[in-house]
Subunit: 187 residues, 2 copies
């Protein structure tokens, strides 16, 4: 096996998703994932701490995108707009990977241990977005409430995007979810 592994991480992620879909998360071993991806198990553990992390490879990048967009939003942008646009921007990274995202979401929904990990990642994302809002001068409890509204819109928008057979962009679904909350807050 070559030391240099082009897209080894991507191969491991796809192999894990395939195996979790075919035979279930609990029945799959890291050795099987490594074998199917054409790497050693040692290489697997150099990239991912456990059997769950392999399905969350994009979460660090997602958080970076959201935080940067909140920090860099125009100074006069309202906090909810800054957060909404940050998550709409983060959505663009997923637009081209709808089929992968849908299969991944199905495996996560069917596996409590993956659900728990996903919720922990979303909580970290929420806390990072809240910290970015506080950097913009937004005080508590507003910063935490607005940050979580952004994560909610991302989650709810994602579910609508996956469930729909239309070719509507995820970013539109995210904006719609946030607009629905705004409309309810105005009642």
């Amino acid at each position: 096996m070559a030391r240099w592994e082009p897209d080894a991480r991507g191969r491991m992620t796809r192999a894990a998703l395939d195996l979790y879909t075919e035979q279930g998360f609990e029945q799959t071993t890291t050795a099987q994932i490594a074998e199917r991806a054409g790497v050693t198990e040692r290489t697997y553990f150099r990239h991912f701490a456990d059997k769950r992390e392999v399905l969350f490879d994009g979460s660090h990048e997602l958080e970076g995108t959201v935080v940067a967009a909140v920090v860099d939003a125009p100074p006069d942008a309202a906090p909810l707009d800054a957060v909404g646009e940050a998550f709409a921007l983060a959505a663009s990274a997923l637009e081209e990977r709808r089929e992968f995202a849908a299969r991944r979401a199905a495996v996560v929904a069917a596996t409590p241990r993956l659900q728990e990990r996903e919720l922990l990642k979303l909580a970290a994302l929420r806390d990072a977005a809240a910290a970015a809002l506080r950097e913009r001068g937004v005080t508590e409890p507003a910063a935490s409430m607005v940050a979580e509204a952004g994560v909610s819109a991302f989650r709810v928008g994602f579910e609508a995007w996956i469930a729909s057979h239309q070719e509507r962009p995820l970013a539109h679904e995210v904006r719609d979810a946030l607009a629905a909350l705004r409309a309810q807050a105005a009642v």
Copy 2:
């Protein structure tokens, strides 16, 4: 040991919290919890499925309170008001147990496996509240967004309540958090 155990569940919960605080979650066994609570390990497992559930004994009741309050809210109540008051009502069950709630929150925050379980419980609570809103005729994505705003207000309000040394009721903190979101949505 008597077959009839007055408040055996409460004793097990308190014993678990004491042990998790003293020696850590990972280092504590169900046998130790049972021993300190004065019950057999078999009795422990009749009440709780694992080492985590013992700290979530109130979650089913909390969900019941929230769902009932949303369903029973006046027909003309706005969804966000119905949800906000449901969580303010749920808060009243905790008002008398602030010291216990604070110690429990500290153990959960220090233990990733407990954090994950807590997030799963809050997600279930959110989904139940969203279903109750749909029963009231609220459509998606509004129902999910409003339900999650209620859970957010409960979580953010809870953190403010625990952190504060004032004698302010949790219900007030929950209402304040939701009011902050409303104010941001109006910008």
